[in-house]
Symmetry: C2
Subunit: 202 residues, 2 copies
């Protein structure tokens, strides 16, 4: 089985589109995806001015997400609360989920609550809404997400993303080939299947 890593951030507007699309696409292609949340804020701070200060870009982003959601028939109500997850709590819960093997289910529930039900990421209320249906104990998960190991795993995953040349979310790494952006998901899948035109030419 080839490597197919999905790097994303809880709080990344464009990651929503990939979160909603990647499962079905990967299943159809017979690809096993590793869901690897990382701290894109660290990486972006090294490369860029904070997105939230760039008015034209942010305004464009939500319109673009609305258009792309329509194109891909992904549900979209309105631009979500953003920025969100100020203390990276939603992202650290994802580390607990990844450790426990329920990261995909947590991610889907979490992004849906954020985008479609208007709940800010990183709020206790958000976790109380998302975790019980996954049969997870809120207090236990909360404690684990605040433990040093969750912080350390998030840092290690961020280092891994940086090592692949990743500077934004979402991104996909297929056998060491890095793709950035939900709009490159089709290409990443093609690469994993060995049918990308550049692979065939090289």
């Amino acid at each position: 089985m080839r490597q197919f890593d999905f790097f994303y951030f809880f709080g990344s507007g464009y990651a929503y589109l990939s979160v909603m699309r990647i499962g079905a696409m990967a299943r159809q292609a017979g690809i096993a995806v590793r869901w690897r949340p990382f701290n894109v804020r660290t990486v972006m701070a090294e490369n860029n001015i904070a997105l939230r200060t760039q008015v034209a870009k942010v305004s464009y982003m939500w319109r673009d997400v609305a258009r792309r959601a329509a194109t891909h028939e992904v549900p979209f109500v309105k631009a979500p609360i953003w920025p969100t997850d100020p203390d990276l709590l939603a992202n650290r819960v994802a580390m607990v989920a990844a450790e426990g093997g329920w990261c995909e289910a947590y991610t889907l529930a979490s992004f849906r609550a954020w985008y479609l039900e208007g709940m800010a990421l990183g709020d206790r209320a958000h976790l109380e809404h998302v975790l019980p249906p996954l049969e997870k104990d809120v207090d236990a998960v909360f404690a684990a997400a605040n433990a040093p190991s969750a912080h350390e795993r998030l840092k290690a995953e961020t280092d891994a993303a940086r090592g692949y040349g990743i500077f934004g979310s979402p991104a996909f790494v297929v056998d060491g080939e890095t793709f950035w952006g939900d709009d490159r998901l089709e290409e990443a899948i093609a690469w994993a299947e060995g049918r990308h035109r550049l692979q065939q030419a090289e």
Copy 2:
């Protein structure tokens, strides 16, 4: 006829893909494109850290352009000389060309020489290579590109781009709807044809 404006910069790596694709796509859709070069450097300086200082992003960009070129069957030899056109000469010549109605032909010849023949934009040698086949006098064009009117037109076009919320190159504006990136060209065409899913839903 609907408005379809193509905003791009001589020196933008991704603009090459649109320059090579937009003519055939627009003809097939029956769309008249206005070719509108602008100074993306001004706009990016307002929104961003200079791209050339972002090592991971630049390295990604050329690999991504190579992949996208392969996907779209656009010729690609290697990453072009970049940054290029330090004094905006190639862009100011484009103002002369736009004024004279030969901007599309100049753009195609210019990007080909830059990407496929390894010639830096803004060099006198580049213009001497590109202009004579277009039956343009190099000295006359050079003088016009250095006149105040060329500087003023470039500034006015840049203001127009900014007014459409544009913060990068290439970009497309269709009836006031802004699309950023060569990877949004298909969507912009769909919008011009009235068949984008968000248009139909709104």
